[in-house]
């Protein structure tokens, strides 16, 4: 296990508090933890790609960056459109 994979392990461990926070916060505020977790996962995938010499993990990182952005924007549009009048 090299330094890249140790870095990825630290980042994956950082998921746990973010997941707990996302579960505990009320609806529109928990998205902050999800956004932080998305960037966290992208970095972890990049480190895994370099640490294991497997290129497809780099593709996963790029796709995850795009998908997490689109998902967060869609959720925020939903929150704005259906807020309590």
């Amino acid at each position: 296990m090299n330094g890249w994979l140790w870095g990825a392990t630290v980042l994956v461990a950082a998921f746990v508090p973010l997941a707990v926070l996302c579960a505990r916060l009320p609806a529109p505020e928990g998205i902050v933890a999800v956004e932080a977790a998305g960037v966290d996962a992208v970095l972890a995938l990049l480190l895994i790609a370099q640490g294991t010499n497997r290129q497809p993990f780099g593709d996963l990182a790029l796709v995850l960056a795009v998908v997490s952005f689109i998902g967060a924007i869609a959720y925020l549009r939903f929150v704005e459109a259906f807020r309590e009048e």
């Binding site: 529109p28 956004e35 966290d40």
Partner: protein
């Protein structure tokens, strides 16, 4: 261990440390906008990890993917932070 390895390890350490700092900030702050302030700072970690991959791998396919990912996150991060702050603000204004 060559100079290139040392630079890559330092960049990985700084990048992972910055991202852990972001996670701690999001975890420990009380207000949603304070949490968002830390979440928006994750660009530093992204840039450092991307630089580490490029330094270690040189001009290669994984380096190109790291550059594309970093460029996308650097552009989308501020947009996402702004949209999140706006949604939280509107949500609070509607509740008051």
């Amino acid at each position: 261990m060559s100079v290139r390895d040392v630079v890559a390890w330092v960049l990985v350490g700084v990048g992972v440390g910055a991202q852990v700092f972001v996670c701690l900030g999001v975890l420990l702050m009380r207000d949603a906008l304070d949490r968002l302030h830390y979440a928006g700072a994750s660009t530093l970690g992204v840039v450092c990890v991307c630089a580490a991959v490029i330094v270690a791998a040189g001009p290669s396919l994984i380096g190109l993917k790291a550059i594309l990912t970093t460029a996308f996150l650097a552009v989308s991060g501020p947009v996402l932070t702004h949209a999140t702050a706006r949604a939280i603000h509107l949500h609070r204004a509607a509740r008051e």
